[in-house]
Symmetry: C2
């Protein structure tokens, strides 16, 4: 019965694509099936018709690319494939080979690998054709660099998505498991098209009810729908569940009753979801319970949970995003200080999940010092696809440059290992490897709140598969599939995307500044905020600006955070002259009159960045105007209206920030830089109640 | 796994026939435009091309009904129309006449009236054709009975819809006024198709920010979009706004500074929204501020606001849904006691808005005793379209019988005036008349959370236009437009709809029982609940069941609520033998052994109702199975899955309720009635966290 229901879901979706409004629902899978009526089924599946192969075949039939002849889906060990002596030995569990071959004297496009490899190969074939390749002489082969390519949904059980700017949660917990929205299948298709193979359904700020039988059944329904698309379900676990659900007196990981409770709970979950992925845990961070409440370490907590899921092949992803409200230490140092000493203490099925930077998903941060610092522990980077600090759904900010900046960063460890070599396990020969992205997906019709936000989901997935892809290449292939193949359109869209993230950095916090937003939301400027209870909640904590200068001294004269990096890099960061200019004020407190490499003062350079950010957004608007004849009206109009918002708000950020800096340094703006539109009091008086993504 | 191939074959077939996804988005406006390419525009607009006439013409062009020849839209005073000497004198401001005529020797379908009349006539014409009428010899004329036909959105500024079961608010306050979602226009089209001409954008539990300049601009953007569709925007007003926004020390309506603040605020709103409709106010009810906080009356409060909007032609809708936490009086009596003495004291532009029953939108309530009791005051009924107490989005409950039951109820005042004659102003010759429905609309793709919930929006709008329409007729015309014209399909769907609301009454609270739900949601059963702070929050307050009997004595031996009705009716309600059986326990506390008219005991009859409710839902499921070949798969499947939920939950309601009643009366179930599936403790232990529509 299970397969029957699933297939029916497919058939509904297959019909949905025909004559549809361009409202963004179809994402980058805007197939234009060949119009000629088919007399024969163009897809042959050899061997057992597994649900995964059926999903691949259904996708091919739906897309039905013009000019593509017969396609054969066959396992790499199928006699028809082995006879061809293809280089399939290195494909592994997930790799694919797609090649134009001749079988029984007939030309055919062969897609081969494991079940999962064939699924991914099918999507790779469709992408190949949709990005302009000829349907003949195809030869594609690839395998993913990272084992677990995950989305993290910060979705609450009441439907609110923390830091979500695309409507409510996709998961309608209230009607699950009874109602299986066809959209769940489309979610799985989109992820499978990128190779994403795991999804954490609920927020890391976890509610304990997600572990009750009622919610396990709901998660199981989703797992059933996702399974044919190669996606495993994970849950965020609330560490205090043994107390709150189990009635125990403690959640101390060293208490055998606690371990037994988790083991029994895991058994229960695996009965409902045999391929359950495991737990993601945010512990002892921002008010969440954890092992430190009992004097135990993060390793103690992680290992106790790991033991519970190990018999079933599950894993634990343990987040390193911790900072204590009682620790006067530089917040950016605390994760390293807490976790580095634990290297080697984690169980084999634990992965430590580390945000890309040491603070919190700012538009730019130096890579996290834990990358490369824990060689005995698999480390997964956590990126934020949703734009918590980059303008929510409204602002255009293509994030592949941000993701790639971290992935390609030189750790200066063991030679010049890149962060990507740390996280894919190759550097330290870990069996497990993972990468996580905090999803930007909601139930908005266009999934992500804007057309361009779809590119961030796409780019994350593509980089998770292959961190060496360039942001530019990803932008181009995304744009071709999303908007069409017109060369002028593509050039314009790709140029816009490539400029966009740096523009956000420029108008919100250039030169390494960070965490400058107003209170109550992470949207508008508030560099003046100094009245929040905990020091590290205040922007003034991060910029430390006064009449004389600006920036956070993290060298040996300051918080000494530079010492957390490998010696070669620490040495560079120790000196402003060898610190990359775009990270300058992250590491150094400098006089406003400091001379930059260009010869200009720090102040004048800072202003130039703000001005450049504003100007870039104006350019984005102009560029988008040029695309009007080439883009369907609904998506064009929404983007155009959003760009108008961004242009206004880029000025707001610049003007508010400059007003504040000038109130401290009393310096004039450089020639040609316009004065802020309002005085500082006006900017301080702005309020923005009810921001999205902000659960109460 | 062999099933796989079969299903895939099915999906290919299904695709061949479906041109557009049937996901419910198109509501009852599923136009199937004529396929022949048009060479000439079939629509002529005479006179000024106003936005409203343009909207009407655009709708006709979009629908382009097969077989319909040229259509002319022309004002009733256009020479081409006056020459025809048509009966247009009685159309009023909103009525229409649509007729097949000959002008200049050419046959044409004329749509005439005012701008607004032409808009409504256009939709009437399209409905006429979509429900099977021939496109020739058309002769339609109608005018609305009620002046203000309103939706009330209980939408919070953070996007949560109180008692909303169809996703988030349609209004994306965060991106308004910049981004104008095309869906706002589709909302307006759907309402205009029914003649709804006013919408209150925000929750009656109002946040004060809705009156700030920032939110007024957002409301104005929506008003601009809705205006061509004849829909005025209203706002719920928080009575304490002069204190919270204006910085005044009081919101006392007798304070001139308070009145001046509201006058200035109204002026500000009208500058942004020249045709702003006015304010809806929930005052001194469930924690909301109001004039009673200052010893002033509801009339004082309403009149002060009315004076503020009167210069602009605005009105105030003042809700009578009040009950005090300090009043030991029967909650069902309090609105009457508070408002009846104020009759004659309200300003001319005030309408008192009264819920259909005296309690709170229960599956069945006797009509509110205020209908007919305040002849000097325009009274608007407030219906709840969203199914707060009738199974949220999941259960099928067609509400036209509920709405119509109130509208057609005999008040026994001034002869046998019906409630509809009270509310349309005809009985007491009021200039103003209004009707309000609490919307069931959200941003779910199908707008209302299920296909059948769309019928409740539709039926409310149709009854608001003409309260004399029968639920059966409305069901049939809705079903034809929503699912198609197959006679067997229509018969089945209409039969299902007509049985559905009574089924909900039967399995949740038959024979006049009410307010029996569990705590924390208004979904499942909790007749045993007795532990809530205020007496009238507890189900036991309403059913008063014990070993001997059940029901709320509202006669002279009890709360005396029957005396609030007109004498002729009060007399009937005073005696269980003359009280309608479906309202019996609303008015009477009776022994379990009381003999009903049938001769059966009250207990046995009660059980029969529960059993009938469960059986009816089983029948709904069977009936729906028969429609499978006749309904598109996506909508069919969702309804089928929802009916499975309803069948399970109808049993849950029945079993939990009977378990509890039996724990009190120790009576056996009548022969053939199955025992509850679980014991009472099991039902009491069920929890349902995170219900939708329940803002924290």
């Amino acid at each position: 019965m299970r397969t029957g229901r699933w297939y029916l879901g497919l058939s509904l979706l297959a019909c949905a694509t025909a004559a549809q409004a361009e409202d963004g629902y179809r994402l980058w899978m805007r197939y234009a099936p060949a119009t000629a009526s088919q007399t024969a089924d163009p897809v042959t599946v050899r061997g057992e018709q597994t649900p995964m192969l059926a999903a691949a075949a259904a996708e091919l039939r739906r897309a039905n690319p013009a000019g593509l002849g017969p396609v054969m889906l066959a396992h790499a060990n199928d006699p028809a494939v082995t006879a061809l002596r293809l280089p399939v030995a290195t494909l592994g569990d997930e790799g694919y080979l797609v090649r134009s071959v001749t079988i029984d004297g007939r030309p055919v496009t062969l897609v081969t690998g494991t079940d999962r490899g064939i699924l991914y190969g099918t999507f790779a074939l469709l992408r190949h054709l949709a990005t302009g390749a000829a349907p003949t002489r195809i030869d594609l082969t690839s395998r993913p660099r990272v084992g677990l390519r995950m989305l993290n949904h910060w979705d609450n059980l009441d439907g609110v998505v923390e830091r979500g700017y695309a409507g409510r949660s996709l998961w309608d917990w209230w009607t699950l498991p009874d109602y299986r929205d066809p959209r769940y299948t489309d979610y799985a298709r989109a992820n499978a098209s990128l190779g994403i193979n795991g999804t954490v359904l609920n927020n890391v700020n976890a509610k304990v009810e997600s572990l009750t039988p009622r919610y396990i059944a709901k998660a199981a329904a989703l797992a059933d729908i996702f399974r044919p698309y190669g996606i495993k379900v994970y849950l965020s676990a609330r560490f205090s569940a043994p107390v709150e659900l189990g009635g125990l007196k403690t959640a101390n990981p060293k208490d055998p009753a606690v371990a037994a409770w988790w083991a029994a709970k895991s058994d229960e979950i695996y009965r409902a979801i045999p391929d359950f992925g495991g737990f993601l845990v945010k512990a002892n961070s921002e008010g969440q319970p954890g092992p430190r409440d009992y004097g135990a370490s993060h390793a103690d907590g992680a290992n106790m949970l790991a033991a519970a899921v190990r018999p079933h092949g599950g894993i634990v992803l343990w987040r390193a995003f911790v900072y204590a409200d009682t620790d006067p230490n530089d917040r950016a140092k605390q994760a390293y200080d807490e976790f580095k000493p634990l290297d080697g203490q984690f169980a084999k099925n634990v992965i430590v999940q580390v945000k890309n930077g040491a603070l919190d998903f700012q538009p730019r941060e130096p890579f996290h010092p834990l990358f490369g610092a824990m060689p005995r522990t698999p480390i997964a980077p956590e990126f934020q696809i949703t734009k918590e600090y980059l303008g929510f759904a409204t602002h255009l900010a293509y994030l592949a440059p941000l993701f790639s900046e971290t992935l390609t960063a030189d750790t200066h460890t063991r030679g010049h290992a890149r962060v990507s070599q740390v996280i894919d396990g190759s550097l330290d020969r870990h069996r497990l490897s993972a990468i996580a992205g905090v999803a930007n997906i909601g139930d908005s019709r266009d999934w992500t709140g804007s057309s361009f936000n779809q590119a961030n989901w796409y780019a994350y997935g593509r980089l998770a598969w292959d961190p060496s892809l360039t942001p530019q290449a990803i932008a181009r292939e995304w744009a071709m599939q999303t908007f069409g193949t017109d060369p002028k359109l593509l050039d314009t869209v790709v140029a816009m995307m490539m400029a966009s993230r740096e523009a956000v950095v420029d108008y919100t916090g250039p030169l390494g500044l960070a965490h400058l937003m107003a209170t109550g939301h992470h949207y508008g400027p508030g560099p003046w905020v100094a009245d929040l209870k905990r020091p590290e909640w205040n922007p003034v904590y991060y910029h430390r600006a006064d009449a004389a200068g600006i920036g956070f001294d993290r060298t040996k004269t300051g918080s000494k955070a530079v010492a957390q990096y490998a010696p070669g890099l620490a040495k560079l960061y120790a000196d402003p002259k060898t610190t990359p200019e775009n990270e300058l004020l992250w590491f150094h407190h400098l006089p406003w009159t400091y001379r930059m490499a260009s010869g200009a003062t720090l102040w004048d350079t800072l202003v130039q960045h703000y001005d450049r950010g504003v100007a870039t957004v104006d350019t984005l608007r102009t560029q988008w105007q040029q695309t009007k004849p080439l883009v369907d009206p609904e998506r064009w109009q929404k983007t155009d209206e959003f760009l108008a918002v961004q242009a206004r708000e880029a000025r707001w950020w610049r003007d508010a920030s400059l007003s504040y800096w000038m109130s401290l340094n009393n310096l004039p703006l450089p020639a040609g830089s316009p004065p802020p539109a309002h005085d500082l009091a006006w900017y301080k008086a702005q309020t923005f109640p009810y921001p999205p993504g902000n659960p109460q």
